[in-house]
């Protein structure tokens, strides 16, 4: 699956997107654990519930199973308009 990062999250991950596979995270909760292990600086934002998640361009709040075709986006609160 493809993971995309936006805004200042990119400054922490140092990349815009990456591929991970189902062994690393088979659902959204596991993905959250995976990325804060890989990027410890994200942990405090995760705890404060500042991070937003979208699966295939739809907001995801609850835990949900992932597939290899999914596109997951991780970003801070939006500020458009």
């Amino acid at each position: 699956m493809k993971i995309k990062y936006f805004a200042w999250i990119k400054d922490i991950t140092n990349l815009e997107e990456e591929e991970i596979n189902l062994n690393q995270a088979k659902n959204l909760d596991e993905l959250k654990t995976y990325i804060i292990e890989k990027y410890p600086d994200l942990k405090k934002y995760m705890i404060k519930e500042i991070l937003r998640f979208a699966i295939n361009q739809e907001y995801a709040v609850n835990n949900i199973n992932l597939t290899d075709e999914d596109e997951i986006a991780i970003f801070p609160p939006v500020s458009g308009g």
């Binding site: 995309k4 936006f6 805004a7 200042w8 404060k48 500042i50 979208a54 361009q57 739809e58 907001y59 986006a73 970003f75 801070p76 609160p77 939006v78 500020s79 458009g80 308009g81």
Partner: protein, 138 residues
Amino acid sequence: MIKIQEEDFNSEYEINKIKKLHSNVGAVSSFIGYVRDENNNKKVRSINLEVYQEMAHKQFEKIINKANLKWKLEDSLIIHRYGKLKVNSKIVLVACFSKRRLDSFESCNFIMDYLKKDAPFWKNEFYGEENEWLSNFS
């Protein structure tokens, strides 16, 4: 009609193009958002507006669908820019087309509310040498 683009737009032209299709439209309410010269007591020079394009499209479609369930709209238009935008530049245009005023007026405000809440855009403000990502959590 949804447009996500870097270029500026002409609101008269964009609104006319849609209005022409609907002789029963008597009311167009619209909102234009601009880059202001000041935010949080800092002098802003420009912003860089990042977008998650595919998701922005989907979210705009959802918002317009919701508005259509609540009000009698003949048409609607969202144009949202991204990229480097100087002070005074237009950022967004929302226009709602209806027979009567109340529908256009309330739906335009509704769409702006949801756009600000759900549309995946992020503003990076530039002040002189520094820059800062805007966030709603500080």
